[in-house]
Amino acid sequence: MSGIYKVSGKKFALPTSQEASRSLSEARWVVRPGGWLVLEFPDGTRRRLALHEARGQLAVAINGRLYSGVINEESRHRGTEKAEADADLTAQFPGKVRKVLVSAGAKVAEGDSLVLVEAMKMEFTIKAPADGKVTKILVTEGQQLSPGDRFLDFEVNGGASGG
């Protein structure tokens, strides 16, 4: 398995487990109380991290930094791209649709602005999660949003549909 770890909208490629194991072949993993994983190298040095992974989300504490993001396996690329597109196109918090910037049938590139949302006294832009096509608009301007409301149906280029 390898995969893409998407943190704060930025994608990072994870090496395959074979590649990772090879580079760490002399090291030993130890699970320590407190939920820490310690990697011990033959020269005595150690690295420490903590992970939590569930339902496609991976949170990591490493080198004093915390990362939280979506993890997609390469082998299930299509299916999880759909899951990822779904999450990006669903309201995460209550708000209001300020403006819809595209119409049904529009072909868009990853990162294109699709919908303007007002929430928590701030304005957010919902962007296209991948190259693809907007198949159906599901909200209207001025509409109140609840978490879980979908903004639009989206078809990722290459066939996987979100919706």
Binding site: Y5, L14, R28, R65, A119
Partner: protein, 493 residues
Amino acid sequence: MKQKVLVANRAEIACRIFQTCREMGLGTVAIAAPGDEEARHLTYADEVHRVPGYLDIPAIIEVAKRSRAQLIHPGYGFLSERPAFVKAVEKAGLIFVGPRADTMELMGGKISAKEIAAREKVPTLPWAKVPAGGDIKAAAKQVGFPLLLKASAGGGGKGMRRVDRLQDLEAAAESASAEAVSAFGDGTLFLERLVEKPRHIEVQVFGDGKGGGIHLYDRECSLQRRHQKVWEEATAPHLTGATREGLYEAAIRLVRGVKYRSAGTLEFLVDADGKFYFLEMNTRLQVEHPVTECVTGVDLVWAQLAQAQDTEEAILTDVPAARGHAIEVRLYAEDPAQGFIPTPGRIEKLRWPTGPGIRVDSGIEEGQTVGTQFDSMIGKLIVFAQNRDHALARLRYSLDETVILGSAGFGTNQNYLRALADHSSVKEGRVDTGFLEREFGNFAPSLSEEELRLIAAARAGGFGKACAPAAAVSGKAAIPSPWSAFYKPGSSA
């Protein structure tokens, strides 16, 4: 029967006030609004009562009567600066822990506070009221450019507009007034001269309500984003003795001049020449009060409660000694790398740092789901050390040891705070209120090749999932997880 305190607030500040209440042998009464069912402050109170909302004055008074709480502490935000709440509490025969209603009205209104400042010979920025139907342009010429249009009824950036030129004034005033009406129900504006790259310096005070009072030194809160503070310190670095003394004397004149009672904070802007200007007063305990408590050793909540319980006893009559340096950072459930969007979710792993000079005022528990209904601040990390350099080192250590991992997209601004602690201007203590928006506007995550390898290897070993193996695993031949019959390696749980 021991006295009880009802805390008309929630999360970390309610927990913090409960601590001192218990230390003083006072009973603790919590209120719970819908959406806060899992909130931490409910776990630690002696009694919990439901209310429709934290701003519901009649409901809160009703709870106080039912629970026989004699003292009401408002915390910060919510009803803490509402004279109507103070009056309702007193009308019910209960004790409000804080200033009197009339002082709150006087010092809470931005325009009336400026007038008091003028009376007490405390410098303010050149300013002018916007005359109803009068000549706003003449007023603006008096104040000078650049200037800020501000709402007199409230803050947080609402109803505020910067104006650089006379010709932009009228359009800006219309827009600002409309925003103020929508936010505060009052569109009254005033004009205030804008200081370029100011420092936000505030002075903690405690008054006896009879014309006496002390200061408890200053704090610097220049690191703000959209008027939301992120990082505060006691005491402010690089202030001359003259500026510091001037700030303290001005603060005391104001406290004594209005016969202020209980804890409060006076906010100032300090310009590059060390000249200071009074901005406004916060007639309550502030979020960042812990840094003052660290450098003085004084428990401000204790002082408030002791004074409220016995109005005859003299509390905090002498300025305490100050030593060392304290820094507080605010943890928010938001993502600075994506426009600070809220990142609610469930907290799966929570580890706070511990050790000398580390204080955590937490609003969260492991297993709690953090939503978006309330403020997204989840806790405060405060460090205290013998000098500023060591405090910075202690902050870096503490952030490195803080683990708040969540699921369902949960994230915090922890990395952003950690990056701030490495920034040269922050380390030098040379920042202003525009610094964060100028220098930290494009924060982005970065993972090194080594970190990605470690993560990949840890996942390959099955760690981090709900069914992780509890034994040591070598990189060469992994011991299969006892749960491997139930899931295929490589699939998400």
